[in-house]
Amino acid sequence: MTAVADTCTDGRTLLDGGTSLGPAWDAAPAGPDPRLRVVGAALFAVTVVALHALPVLLPALGLAVAAAVAARLPARTTLRRLLAMDGFMVLALASLPFTVPGAPLTLAGVDLAPLSHAGTQQALVILVKANAVMLMTLALAGALGPVRLGRTLARLGAPDTLVHLLLFTVRYLDVLNREYRRLRTAMRARGFRAGANRHTWRSMGWLFGMLMVRSLERSERIAAAMRCRGFTGRFPALADGRPLTGRDRAMALAGAVAMMALAVADRLW
């Protein structure tokens, strides 16, 4: 039995040392305006989900790959995330060629009897859609980092309370992850080994119960400190930012044209 992993590897970029929080507070982002990136990711997702034809989805996936390259997403991490797209995907898709009725799938003249052509086609469509949306989301919105994402949502009119909640969660993720690791190290020093048994589940429950208590005490101190500084329910500089430039508008137009083209091509197919 493998030892319990401390966090899933994908958690690292957000949780380790807060590196992704570093420049996000005030550095001007490279590339198009953050608002365009977030809105663009959402519109791209809606467009792609509404498409039907595989030949139209492939250029959409190509656009997402181009965006990922332009955003300089780290290749290895991104590929791992694409491959790791929940076991869910495999479960849902593996059964489709068997459950969708239709003519049997033939591959290079060989009749693959229980697999239906329509089901295989549908599984491929879903796979391309999921990957295209995920790549574009990571490239446009994910590359902003969590803090800038929060500020961008505020500029786009998200409720202040929600944005504050997001920023607080992001702020303390790293702190709590480190506290969790410290407690886990202490448990390991006393000989604790995680297994599939009640003792493990109860011990981990106690660990996180303790983490809840400590973090609540910490949050009381934070709330008091914020009141001291005159917090009235919003951060004044939250929604500040530069206006759209001519270049931003041009990119927005290009993106809109590309998505319209995809939608029209899908109708005509």
């Binding site: 899933c8 957000l14 869910f88 999921a130 309370t161 599939a196 973090s215």
Partner: protein, 216 residues
Amino acid sequence: MAHIPDGVLSMPVLAAGIAVSVAGCAYGLKRLHPDRIPQVGMLSAVFFVASLVHFPVGPSSVHLILNGLTGVALGWAAFPAILVALLLQAVLFGFGGLVVLGVNIMNMAVPAVLCGLAFRRVRRAFPGDTRVAVAAAGAAGAGGVLLTGLAVAASLALSGREFLTAAHLVVLTHLPVLVIEGAFTAAAVGLVLRVKPAVLDDPAPHSDEDEGEGAP
């Protein structure tokens, strides 16, 4: 497991998810007094970290959903807290899609709020009885997972008959998580009740009177 990616579900299911999530989050935010933001943000960070921990099961491992515990600790604020967690996971890690975010939030947050309300009701019926409260917490933890598994399965099954097999598999894979999460939640709540019971009381009465003052 509860993160459905984009491209799978049908439009009516997606629309229903968005409607329920927007309404639930709006209500949760309306009830959330600005003074409680640090508390709720901190707890959602705890649950975020806890949901990344992998528990060994046979040759593989599972991670917890923790929506039962979120509901028990946060009540209606579980809705925006789960929104934040899923949004971060979708945008930064690529877990789950964007359009399907509404459905994913609904599938986790509705069970969370239901379990939280049921837990509070049990606590009010048996005031001061820690053993009943711990048992109720265990039931909330397991119930949150069960309801989420059923909701994910229903989202799939309602999107097309061809997903019925996948829907059955989804419910099956939630069963080990259900057992672990029940024990985990009971232990966590038991410890909190012993160390600092006030944490799990209903938020101070004044925060209900001036609800709606959230946005200045």
